[in-house]
Structures are given as C-alpha cells and as structure tokens.
Symmetry: C2
Subunit: 496 residues, 2 copies
C-alpha cells in the first residue's frame, strides 16, 4: 500500500473510533478490540492500528496499558467530537440536531458498522472474494452490443416498464429455461440493479418491524443487514456440509421469510440436497413464509450437475428467485433479476418504479444482445473453464503445501473455497491473517460470516479462511499458498 493510502486509512480509523466513542457505541471504560483483532478484521497492518491507538491515547480518548485491553477514557465523551463532527458543525452553522431527525430505518442504517473494502497493494496476492478480473470481462462483445443499442436509440426517451426492458426479459426467460431449467413468464421477471436491490425490495415489501426472518448461519451478511434495517428479527439457523439444517426449522414456529443460498451456500459452498429442499418448502408453505432463493453463482458448477431450483419445486408460490450478472460479467454493471410469484408482480413493479423507475436502459439492451446472439453463453463457458482451472490450482497448492493441517470445503462450485485449520481455534484467525499479510498475502476470516449470536464458541471451533481466486492467475495462487504455508510454519501450532 502506498504511503498516502496507509495514512488515509489510519486517519479514517482514528476518526471512526472517535465517532464511535462520541455516539456512545464505545462507552467510557469499555474495552476496545485488540490491535491484532482490529488489524485483521479491517485489513490494516497491526503497526497502523497500534499507531492509531497511541494517537487516541495521547489525545485523551482512550487509555492503554501493556498486557491489558485499551479502554475508552472516563472523560472521553463530553469532548469526544471528531474532526468530521467539527467540520459538520461548522458547515451546519453550529446547529446541533438530535438523532430523532433520522427515521427509524435511518437510525438502524446509521448504527450498522459496514466494513469498508480495504485497498490492496499492487504486489499483494489477494484471495478476496467478490471482485472479478478486468481481463476476464468480454470487452469486445460488450462494446459491440453497446454500440448497436445506442445507435438504435428510440424516437422517444421515456421511462420504461419498471420490470425492465422487454427484449432483455424475453432473452432472460429463454436463458433461465435453458441454463437453469427454470420456467417462468416474462411478466414474472423483474430486472434490478444487482441482487442487492432484489434483497432490498424484498425486505421493504415483505418485512415489517419485528418480523422473524430465518437466516443461514454462517451466511451472507449484506443480506442480513438489509433485513435488519427494515426491522427484521433474524433467526440464525446453523448450516452444515449439506447447507441449511432444515431439521432445526421445527424450532421456528413463526417466520415471515427465510433467506437461503441453496445452490452454493455462502460461504461454506454446500449444495442443499433435494430432501432438505422439500423440507424447507413444506415448512414455508405451512408457516405461510416467503423464501428468498439467492442463486448468486450457479454458473460455476464444476463437479455437480444442475439441480432443480427451489423455485422449480415450489408449488405454493412462496419462492422468490434472485440472480445476478455480477459473478459472470462484472459487479460494476449492477445487473440482476428476480423471478417473482405472480401475486407479487404488481407490488414489486410499483415499488421498483417508486424506488428508481427502472434499470438504466442501455445496459439492459446490451445484455439482451449478448444473451440473444450467444456471446453470453460462450463467455460463461470460457470463464467457467478459467475459474475451474484457478480453483484446481488452489486445491492443488493447498493440498501440497498445507496437507493434513487443513480441510477444504466447497470445492464443487463457485468462486471461492473455505479452508479450515485443524490446529487453530477461530479466535486465532486474526493472527493467522496478520502473519500471512506480512508475507504479502491478503486473507479473509470465515468468522465475519457468523451471526453475532452464533459467534460465542470461537475458542472451540476451528479457524477458517474464505479464499477467493477470481482475481488470481495460477502462478499467483501457488505462490500465495506457499507464502501462507511459510507463515504457518513460522507461527507453529505450539504458539497457540
């Protein structure tokens, strides 16, 4: 990371902690996270965090003692205004506002501590999950499609159907039928700004404050956060190597919704078998609950066959199927879709219109061209081979360098693996990550995907890493795992 980036980050961290003290998140006397834990969690070097803590201590906001956690200083609160606050007050003409100026939802959103993505240095080997490599994007077909649709600009530039461009919905209908065995009418398709918007619309239209919502634990936090901002009461249900433990659903007498990733459980990578699928559907039908089926990366099945979606098995019209082009084309395109039960079409269509009218027309029409002329299918076949080769390289490297020390989970599909470390407990994830980082390898802990209520046993469950490979070439993957193994050797399991 360059000098400026690191300085900017430490400044942001300093401001953030002062803000958390000011708003009462960290109360006087409360222990702050250890520098090691915070460094690993946020992707800073431990030195950076230590420097930030020293600065906070010398400014009187926290108290540090060797061998004990740093704590918020007793007198920190009255003067605990960050520079940001000071700037805000100045621009506001000094008017101080009570928090009640935000809505109930706004207050919940403000209370969320969303993790900012951390910039990576050019020479770092980054096993991040989520981003795709720019060189894998089908630039020529995309540009050709953009040019074609922009030149066919219509005489009247008016708001479009909120459900999306009809050409795209027709092409998608065919695509879903052929690639996913999922049949639906074009009326049931709603084009959205990526699957995140699908989750937001579901939360808004289906969850009232206090409604119980079944969530996978471990699970996709950006979904859980959205549900919680609308007031959902999350009910975390454990997942195992076959996905959601539907046997535990009997404990849930009432739920408004269940959010699941049955094709490739996030992050563990398991596939929900047909028996559990039927059990989940039966439970939902009986409880009158909606199911959101997040099919976020079903294109990447390497050793499992396509299986029927929950939506295809659904006979009671309770499944909302959500898909995205963020994993095959680019997360920056913001293109996703929903397959809605017919009775939800009107209300989702109205909500999409009130929210932002419709997805930008040019991208929709360009995607329709890619789907229609076969270049999307060609691209998916190509990128699937590429990602499979990367994954095989990762499995190979882990097996040869880490061997019996680890267990690999989720290698049948997707763009990431989970690697469990037999010798370390989960509470040791931060030090493991920091050690690798000092060797120029960026890794991500599995613990971030636990629901807060399900994290208590970090001293007994094993440490785990979520390792994405979509950004890396095979030689980088091999080198990254080699460095991780070296870091582990230096640590030695006896240190724990």
């Amino acid at each position: 990371m360059d000098e400026n980036g690191q300085r900017g980050s430490s400044r942001a961290l300093y401001d953030e902690i002062r803000a958390r003290i000011a708003d009462g998140t960290y109360r006087p006397g409360a222990a702050l996270p250890s520098t090691r834990a915070l460094a690993a969690e946020r992707g800073f070097s431990r030195t950076t965090v230590s420097l930030v803590y020293e600065q906070l201590a010398s400014d009187g906001f926290i108290e540090t003692r060797a061998g004990a956690p740093s704590r918020v200083a007793a007198g920190a609160v009255p003067d605990a205004r960050t520079d940001r606050d000071a700037q805000i007050s100045a621009e506001d003409g000094g008017a101080h506002r009570h928090a009640g100026r935000l809505s109930v939802i706004g207050t919940r959103v403000a209370a969320l501590a969303l993790h900012e993505p951390v910039p990576t240095a050019a020479d770092e080997i980054d096993f991040v999950y989520g981003p795709l490599a720019g060189r894998d994007f089908p630039i020529l077909p995309w540009l050709k499609a953009l040019r074609a649709v922009e030149r066919q600009r219509s005489a009247r530039l008016a708001y479009e159907d909120p459900r999306g461009n009809l050409d795209l919905r027709k092409a998608l209908q065919t695509h879903l039928s052929q690639s996913r065995g999922l049949s639906c009418s074009v009326d049931q398709l709603l084009i959205v700004n990526g699957s995140q918007q699908a989750l937001d619309l579901c939360a808004r239209l289906l969850i009232s404050p206090g409604d119980p919502v079944v969530a996978e634990n471990l699970g996709y936090q950006m979904a859980h956060h959205v549900f919680e901002t609308y007031g959902a009461k999350l009910l975390p249900i454990d997942v195992d190597s076959h996905g959601l433990r539907t046997d535990l659903l009997a404990q849930v007498p009432r739920a408004q919704m269940a959010y699941v990733t049955p094709t490739h459980q996030f992050p563990l990578g398991s596939f929900l078998p047909i028996g559990r699928r039927r059990a989940l559907l039966a439970w939902a039908a009986e409880r009158d609950a909606w199911i959101i089926e997040d099919d976020y990366d079903s294109e990447y099945r390497y050793s499992v066959r396509p299986e029927p979606t929950l939506r295809s098995l659904d006979s009671s019209g309770c499944v909302i199927h959500v898909g995205t082009f963020s994993k095959t084309l680019s997360p920056q395109l913001r293109l996703g879709y929903m397959v809605l039960p017919p009775r939800l079409v009107d209300v989702f269509s109205a909500a999409k219109r009130l929210t932002d009218r419709h997805v930008t027309t040019g991208s929709q029409r360009a995607l329709a061209v890619l789907l229609e002329d076969g270049s999307y299918d060609r691209h998916v076949r190509r990128i699937r081979r590429l990602q499979h080769a990367r994954q095989a390289a990762l499995v190979q490297a882990i097996t040869s360098h880490l061997g019996e020390r680890v267990e690999i989970q989720g290698a049948a599909s997707g763009l990431h693996l989970v690697v469990w470390f037999r010798e370390f407990a989960a509470e040791k994830e931060p030090i493991l990550i920091e050690s690798a980082r000092q060797k120029g390898v960026r890794l991500y802990p599995v613990s971030q995907f636990f629901h807060p209520a399900g994290r208590a046993d970090a001293s007994i469950r094993p440490a785990g890493l979520v390792m994405g490979y979509a950004l890396l070439e095979r030689d980088q993957i091999e080198e990254g795992v080699r460095r991780l193994a070296a870091a582990l050797r230096e640590l030695g399991s006896d240190r724990f």
Copy 2:
C-alpha cells in the same frame, strides 16, 4: 393506437376494475367513475371505457343505468376473482394468502394506483411532459465517452464507493459550482439512479410512520407517493404564482420534512423569490425540519437569471439538494445526484450501499468524460436553444389561436407550460381532453397534480392543461394548438 394496443389496454382496464372490486377498493353499491372521466384520466377513448363497462356489466360485476353512474353489483365480491387472480391461484397451487404477507410498506405500495403511461399513436401530437426526443440526445459524444471508458477497464472489477465514481463527483462538483453557483465538497455528493432514488432514500432515512411532511399543492405526485409509502402524513400547502405560500407555513407547528421545487415549481412553473426562500429556511431551522430542494430542470431558464439555490442559502445544514440528468440527457440513463449536508453523508452512503451498492460504473464514467471535456456544456447550450424555440412556438400558437380564452403560466423556464381555460371549470378537463384527442392531440389535465385533499373545488377553479413540448417540432406544436382550438370551437363554452 393500433388494434392490439387498444385491445390490450381495455383488457388491462377490465382486469384492474375487477381486481379493485375483489380487493374492496370498489365496494358493492359504490359508484364507478364516469366513462368520460376515466377515459380522460387514463388516456383511453371513451368508447373503450364504455365497452369495458358493458363487459363488466354483462359479467355481473357492475350495474349500469342510463343517466346514472355505474355501480358495483351487490353480489360482485364473493366471485370477484380476476383472470389474473385465477392464474395466480393456479400457479400457486391454490394456496390463498392473506394480505398480511406484505409488510406495512408493501401494503401501502400495493394500495397506490400508479398511472401507467399510455402508448401514443405515431400520428398523434403528444404534449406529454417527461420524455425527451431521441434525436436531441448527444449520441456521438456519448458513444465516444462509452468507448473510452470501457477500454480503460480496470484490473479489478469490484464494488465501487457507494457515493459514486470519484471522477464523476469531481467533475460534478466543478459543474455545480460553475453552472449553479453551488459549492460543496466531493464527499457531499452522492450519485443516484435518477432523482427518484434520491427521493426514495430521503423518505427511507428521514421519514418514520406518522411524520408530517410539507408538500406543494399542486405538486409532484411521484415524490408524494414515495413519502406516503414510508408512512408520511402529507401536509399539502398551496402554491401560487410565486411558488410555495410560505405565509401558510405558520399553520404547521411540526414537520419532519418539506419537499419543494423552488427553481421551477412543478407543475405551475413559478420561481420561489428570495424572501420566501429565506422564510422557508427560517421555518425549517426553527422546526428542525429537513428540506428537499428538487432542482429537476434548472438548466432550462429562458428569461430568468440563475438564482442562489436553497442549498446555497442554507446556514443550518437542513437542505438536501437533488438534481438529475433526465431532463438534459435522457430519463433512461437513470443518473441523478444529491448534495447532502455533511452530517447525512455517512448514513446515505451506507443506505445506498445496502440498497444497490452503487450506480453502474460505465454510465458514471462516461458522464464524467462529457462533463470534463466540455461536451455536456455544449449539449446543454444547444438543447436549451432548441427547447426555448419550441416553447416560444407554443406560446405563439396559443396566443394566436386561443387568445383571451386562456392564460399561460410558467413560460420563464422548463420543458412545459400550464394553460388555464377561463371558460371551463376544472371538472370539465376530461371532456376538453377527449375532444382534443378525437382530433389527434394528446393532452394532460392539471388536476392530477392536486393533493386529493385539495381537489374539492373542481367546480369553481378553472380547467388547466400541462403542456410539454420536448418531443415536438415547431410545426407540430402549431398544428396541435390549431386542432385544440378547433376542438374548443366545436365544444363552445355554452355547453358548460
């Protein structure tokens, strides 16, 4: 309209009325709107509506009597399932769900009767407001910018800053300063999917159920609807030829928010003078209320000079400034922006991320290029001249063909006029519109912009039309007004 279009529309109308009967909106014995009123409101021919009513009557859902309003039949409800419902039940396997399956917000969205835009025949002269002409779009600069940014695709396709692409925010910061005299930091700018998303985010983050929100009456219904879906209690305040009547604000002891269009009041076109601006700001500061300043078409000022925005006058940090590229480039691009008070930046940024991560990167970067290389400014100067010429042609045609029978309002700026008809009361708008329609002219009533609570005096206030001209060439404008004048002559004021 072609045969299919008309048939499709009448089918949709039939289904809709049956659905409204089924869900209790139209209760047994209740009077339906007159065929004339419904035809004008929804843009159907009166014949179409009459046929739909006849079909509903012969199917037993309504009762028609000559000279009296049609009413919902007494026995209509138990069997009042639309074909849509039947289809839904079939696909749902017959499971019937209670409305409680929607959230509180979802139920409000479902209850809204949003007007669907009505297709226009090719030979119709359409004075619609909103759409822009495809031929006015700067296609070559846009394509060039798209090509340039797509070729500079970055190595890592990751989610971007939810506030928007930094290049675009920098370019926009300069643009707003130069064109609008509005100064802000790039941190305060949030790029959104058109101004509709800005309104949605404001509603979600700032309005809790029951919160009073000041709204202009007449005003922009798509904003009011959004606020109401989040539970706002709308307080309609009258507007006059100088915009919002700030003298009436003293009656509002408490409000969470005021939504205003001070630069070009929608739809009346007035400009809020500096005295009222200051009164509004003082009221908001005292009440601790947010102000949304919707600056939707400030680029089109023909005979008024740029004036300071509310945001520029705001010393208490309560103004949220909202702008859009839908009126200068295309509503299909879905590009708008917000200038936020500093203390709202973090919560809006988090909410944008939870909602849909960020606006699609390609469009943002292409727009940045247009702003930076001067082609956007050139385009705005060109389109402003074009629209001014169209507006002058409309004023000229109205003056020469309708003369003293009408009064023109809002000709100083914008993309539409309001025309008041001295001889007709507002309740006659539908017949006026239908008469013009029979001569191939599509017109839109001003009454749709009244808050429901403020519509009672339709028998005493004059009829009015909102006439947009952005789609029309000068000869079409002249011809359209000539036909309107002919329709008026045939009607004669004595018929009323």
